[in-house]
Symmetry: C2
Subunit: 288 residues, 2 copies
């Protein structure tokens, strides 16, 4: 009685219609290569919902680089076993032609929320993310959908997508899972060499330093960023794409910290791009 | 036991959840000023569905001209009586702040399908139409939604919207209702003066002439259009915005007729813009 693996829209809808009875459906959309971060999402869904559906779909439209799409880890057998272990009811793993039998003519355009952070260099990324999330929500029709805080900008966009279109689903935010040294769990971490894995901790260090500055009362974001950037050592394998301090709902950069902010960064470690963020509240003591 | 009038998302969802039981919900989205064309949509829904919901919402985002939005006929009391008569279960008539409590950041972008015909001069119109239709479908969650053939480009876009996003609804197309002289029913007809009403028949005459040419085997669309345009008399109150011959699914202009086509036109009669279209099949005898 493991997780049922289904690969068509028709089959997954039939499964849900048959199995949910009047219970609620919890949905965890993923791109596979599941790790302990996904486990938190799934466990959260398992606690709250009668039926738990995990989708595994590497959406080609949201990749801006062919090599990134090609190299993105694909581990379906392991993912399925992982889902079995976590008592997932159904794994929905369609191929690209099932999801996009023809190239879509209708897509979701995302305004201001997609302008900064990852949106600055990956213009079409969030349009593609919003489009696939909306489509998966239509296919699965869950009552609750689970997203990680790690992809904070994506989460803000999904929240806005759901409210702008009145999609009948509750978006549940699940805190970022981290390694012992603070590195946020990500499917891309497994692409890091051992050396690069050590260097990758710079990302969390920089965010923590920004967070520390904010908590002790520094409000000038240029100064905060400078202090944070000092934590990223100069190394040929490291390239900081951005480190920004934004308001947590609208994801717009702020010049002066006057309330809760999100500190977010993207760091290239060799050929691997890692992102992370922290919600930082001025004057509040550190939780860890 | 007339149609229940509701104006909030919460109330209409609660009504539907309570009243549909396990029956199907049929949805007729309108901008009000209901006429016999809408009656056809509603009657169709009434025959097929357990619960019939009509929405009345004049979506400001889909108007490109402030005067058109201001002058668009609003007749809620008459519309409600009209719906009572047709045994509609619920009229959902939200105001603008209920539908758009904040300006949407997520909207539907429509590609090629919106490039021609009405899309040529009303760039943002179809984005706004697709956005509101998608939102209303999320609010009502009908099994069937009814749209008129008269707005053929809108219908093609709605079909594509539903398939691109896998929205769980069946789109039902209902043929255009016409006056005795062929004028397609439209809420805007009531804005015509008596003189303009007489001139307005030119629109259908032109379409019929194009249709006749296609049926007798003319394939060159320039020649067909010329013959059609000859039916629109030169009059200071008349201005043809477009007359196009397009393929019926993709709404792209064709140079040579080689199968079913849609002949579509927009005609200004005084300050009123009227649209109409016919599906035309080469070699097929006329139905009327």
């Amino acid at each position: 009685m493991g997780a049922v693996l289904l690969d068509t829209v028709e089959a997954v809808r039939a499964f849900i219609a048959r199995e949910r009875r009047s219970g609620s459906v919890g949905f965890v959309p993923t791109m596979g290569a599941l790790h302990a971060g996904h486990a938190r999402l799934i466990e959260h869904a398992r606690r709250e919902c009668a039926l738990v559906v995990v989708s595994i779909f590497v959406n080609p439209l949201q990749f801006d680089r062919a090599d990134d799409l090609r190299e993105y880890p694909r581990t379906l057998d392991a993912d399925r076993a992982f889902c079995d272990e976590l008592r997932v009811d159904c794994v929905f793993a369609p191929d690209v032609t099932e999801v996009y039998p023809v190239p879509p003519q209708c897509t979701v355009e995302v305004a201001r929320l997609a302008d900064h952070l990852c949106g600055r260099t990956r213009k079409d990324h969030f349009r593609a993310v919003a489009t696939i999330v909306l489509k998966l929500l239509q296919i699965i029709q869950p009552q609750r959908a689970y997203f990680g805080e790690k992809d904070a900008q994506q989460l803000a966009i999904v929240r806005r997508l759901v409210s702008d279109f009145s999609v009948p689903v509750t978006v549940v935010e699940v805190p970022t899972a981290r390694e012992a040294d603070g590195l946020a769990l990500s499917s891309r971490n497994r692409l890091l060499s051992a050396d690069d894995r050590r260097l990758a901790t710079a990302l969390y260090s920089a965010l923590r330093e920004a967070d520390r500055q904010i908590r002790i009362g520094v409000t000038d974001t240029d100064r905060i960023k400078q202090a944070a950037l000092a934590r990223v050592s100069i190394h040929p394998a490291l390239r900081l794409e951005y480190l920004e301090i934004v308001d947590p709902d609208e994801m717009q950069p702020v010049a002066t910290v006057a309330g809760p902010v999100r500190v977010a960064a993207a760091l290239w470690v060799g050929r691997v791009r890692l992102i992370d963020n922290l919600l930082s509240i001025p004057g509040q003591a550190e939780s860890e």
